[in-house]
């Protein structure tokens, strides 16, 4: 069981890292950023599939690797990475049935809750640990995360989960029992 959690976490983190490094399209509407960040949905999906610990580790490890590659070091002692992992933890707290639309809707809703908690954690870290200017935090960190993250996790998480379910039903039926 633990082995599966670790395995899913590592695979999830690897997928997160690959996806997050791809430049994603976006558009600005006034000061609000609109776009999709599929990497966030990966964290939520792993949490939904494998539970809260796998979700937490996927976000944490993935974002730590992301920081190591792009900045050459750890950002704020990996606290932001913990914030991202928190979304996976929240999503993974309840079971889902990916075959049912209602369960997908529940997944979408919990992903939104998880994303908002991540955004608030990022806000707290930036304001009280890094001591950023309030304008900088809100304009460059919190707001973009919310305006891009919310449609992403609301839409892509159930989408990815459903696609994963489709492939596992066709290719790996045993995986459904393990879930």
């Amino acid at each position: 069981m633990l082995l599966w959690v670790v395995a899913y976490s590592i695979i999830g983190a690897a997928i997160y890292l690959i996806v997050v490094l791809i430049p994603m399209p976006f558009t600005m509407i006034s000061l609000f950023k609109l776009g999709l960040a599929p990497a966030l949905a990966v964290i939520a999906v792993v949490g939904a599939v494998r539970g809260p610990i796998a979700g937490l580790l996927t976000g944490y490890i993935g974002e730590v690797m992301h920081a190591l590659i792009l900045s050459g070091g750890l950002v704020t002692a990996t606290l932001p990475a913990l914030a991202y992992g928190f979304m996976g933890l929240v999503v993974g707290l309840t079971p889902y049935e990916f075959a049912r639309g209602r369960s997908l809707a529940k997944l979408s809703l919990l992903s939104i809750v998880g994303l908002m908690m991540t955004a608030l954690l990022v806000l707290v870290i930036d304001l009280f640990v890094e001591s950023f200017g309030t304008l900088a935090v809100i304009g460059f960190a919190f707001l973009p995360l919310v305006t891009v993250g919310l449609p992403t996790v609301a839409l892509l998480t159930p989408l990815f989960a459903r696609v994963l379910y489709f492939f596992t039903v066709e290719i790996r039926p045993h995986a459904i029992g393990a879930m």
């Binding site: 399209p25 976006f26 000061l31 999709l36 792009l70 050459g72 890094e130 200017g133 460059f140």
Partner: protein, 547 residues
């Protein structure tokens, strides 16, 4: 698969919304890489990746700034598209002109074999805009905006007593107390001569260099004096404050002037006293530069109502902490370390990691910015953005692309790219945040991403360079010149170009009938046109070697 779709209306709805949202957002993806190949001609291999190059976006950004600079579109004292009318930014306007000039100089030097009037005319028009006088352009002149604006309140300039007309007069727009204009104006001219070799501005540049030499080595009355007129080996502005960053400009010019014209102003020690002053007196506790040192009390100076009072002469004090510590800023250090690296490379090398450690803030894995003052990192405003912008050039110069890219992500990720209908120009739309930043972010991207650094521009091109073949005329509005330079070792002209409409290029300095090759195969023999040779190209993208 279709059965799965049918069983969930929610899934279908989500899929549709995803496609709709995703489809709205493709405008801001990174631009395409410049296509480069390898070709072998007569047993000589030309790898285009070995030469400097520009991207489509850099060229489109240049084309955009050209629309607000070129005299083809508006007079020198007209500022449509600059959004520099508000009191908050009007005093910063001349800096935008200056740094736009330095950024575009690096673009020109990236394709040194492409020297048509398109680039030369832009550089010249920018100088003319910088030199707009009140007599001709009244309130729209840079002279008014930078110097004579009555809201600045400084009208009398004598030394040592500002109001004593018997003392040495140090005033006027072009005078020794206005280095924050004279320095930039002269550097714009010097870079113009460095890049285009016309000789038209040499005399005026020399006048400034000699005037600064007089300021720095005499008492202004013809008597030699250590430290010059103000005794610190530096030139003030504002007035009567000396800044490291402002003085880095005339110092840089002196080096480039010596390099261009074989003079020895640097060797004469003209800047020695001043360099020692900034490296010993104008230092904070971390061996970085402080932001300002008063050489005398400016007329009308308002003493702070509480806290420690500044001394004259003495350092400018920090107005946030208000406890007597000297003022510091990231833009001061980033600017200074960039422009002083040619003169004192060891200092910049030593200071750079300390500078990053003190001033940088990690926003996320892929974003960071520079705080204005490390005394108070929780503030954020114009000077934090300024510090971040100046650090772009410094990071590039230091080869620190990680820092550069993270700051670029921070600064540019909140703005849309806006392309013109004809696809020739692009800019970042900053109207929602601050319109004044529009031109700034345009040249800022060029400043950060070209393969040429400020340090490398401080050396003149070798004398042989002016005899190399180059493109002297072209249908500039129809082409994108990504690479253009003569390789003297391989005796070939490298040209990487995209042609939108049938265009003709004219090459000068070939001493024989040149032949163009593309992909290693014969493309065309150039046609004689007087002493020059021309080549016509149909629409397409070409990696061409001309030998």
């Amino acid at each position: 698969m279709s059965s799965y779709l049918k069983t969930s209306k929610f899934f279908l709805g989500v899929l549709v919304l995803t496609v709709v949202i995703g489809g709205m957002t493709f405008g801001n993806l990174p631009g395409p890489a410049t296509p480069m190949g390898v070709q072998t001609i007569n047993s000589v291999t030309y790898n285009f990746a070995d030469y400097r190059s520009l991207t489509q976006e850099q060229l489109a950004l240049f084309n955009y700034v050209n629309t607000i600079v070129s005299s083809k579109y508006q007079g020198y004292g007209s500022w449509n598209g600059w959004y520099a009318q508000s009191p908050a930014v009007i005093g910063l306007h001349h800096y935008v002109l200056a740094f736009m000039s330095y950024a575009t100089a690096s673009l020109f030097d990236s394709t040194p074999g492409y020297r048509t009037d398109y680039y030369r005319g832009f550089a010249y028009d920018l100088i003319e805009k910088m030199n707009t006088t009140e007599a001709r352009w009244t309130n729209e002149s840079i002279e008014y905006r930078e110097w004579t604006n009555p809201s600045y309140g400084f009208t009398q300039y004598h030394y040592p007593n500002a109001t004593n007309s018997s003392d040495l007069y140090v005033g006027s727009f072009r005078g020794p107390a206005n280095i924050m204009w004279t320095g930039h104006y002269a550097l714009m001219m010097t870079l113009y001569e460095r890049n285009f070799h016309t000789g038209n501005l040499t005399n005026e540049i020399g006048w400034f260099v000699r005037d600064w030499n007089n300021t720095l080595t005499t008492d202004g009355l013809g008597n030699l004096k250590q430290g010059g007129i103000w005794g610190v080996g530096l030139i003030p502005c504002e007035p009567y404050v000396v800044f490291v960053q402002c003085n880095s400009i005339p110092l840089y010019i002196t080096e480039l002037y010596d390099s261009l014209y074989g003079t020895h102003f640097m060797d004469s020690g003209m800047w020695d006293y001043g360099l020692n002053f900034i490296n010993t007196v104008m230092q904070d506790g971390h061996d970085l530069f402080t932001d300002g040192y008063y050489v005398m009390k400016p007329l009308g100076y308002q003493f702070p109502s509480d806290g420690p009072q500044p001394t004259f002469p003495g350092p400018a004090l920090d107005r946030i902490m208000h406890d007597g510590r000297p003022k510091v800023s990231s833009y001061c250090n980033a600017w200074s370390l960039t422009f002083l690296e040619h003169a004192q490379p060891d200092e910049t090398t030593k200071d750079y990691p300390v500078f990053l450690d003190l001033y940088s803030k990690d926003v996320s894995a892929d974003k960071m910015y520079m705080v204005d003052s490390y005394y108070c990192p929780s503030r954020f405003g114009t000077y934090d953005i300024l510090g971040s912008l100046f650090t772009l050039a410094l990071a590039k110069q230091r080869g620190d692309t990680t820092t550069r890219d993270r700051i670029l992500n921070f600064l540019y990720s909140n703005f849309n790219k806006v392309w013109s209908a004809d696809g020739r120009t692009m800019h970042y739309d900053t109207m929602s945040l601050e319109p004044f930043l529009q031109s700034v972010l345009a040249f800022g991207w060029i400043w950060a991403t070209t393969p040429v650094t400020i340090r490398s521009l401080a050396d003149a091109r070798p004398a042989d360079f002016w005899g190399y073949p180059y493109i002297s005329h072209a249908d500039d509005d129809s082409v994108w010149v990504y690479q253009a330079q003569w390789d003297p070792a391989k005796a070939g002209f490298i040209l990487n170009i995209r042609v939108d409409h049938p265009s003709t290029l004219v090459f000068s300095n070939f001493d024989h009938v040149p032949t163009a090759y593309s992909g290693g195969a014969f493309l065309a023999q150039l046609t004689a046109s007087g002493a020059d040779y021309s080549m016509s190209l149909q629409p397409g993208t070409y990696n061409i070697v001309i030998i």
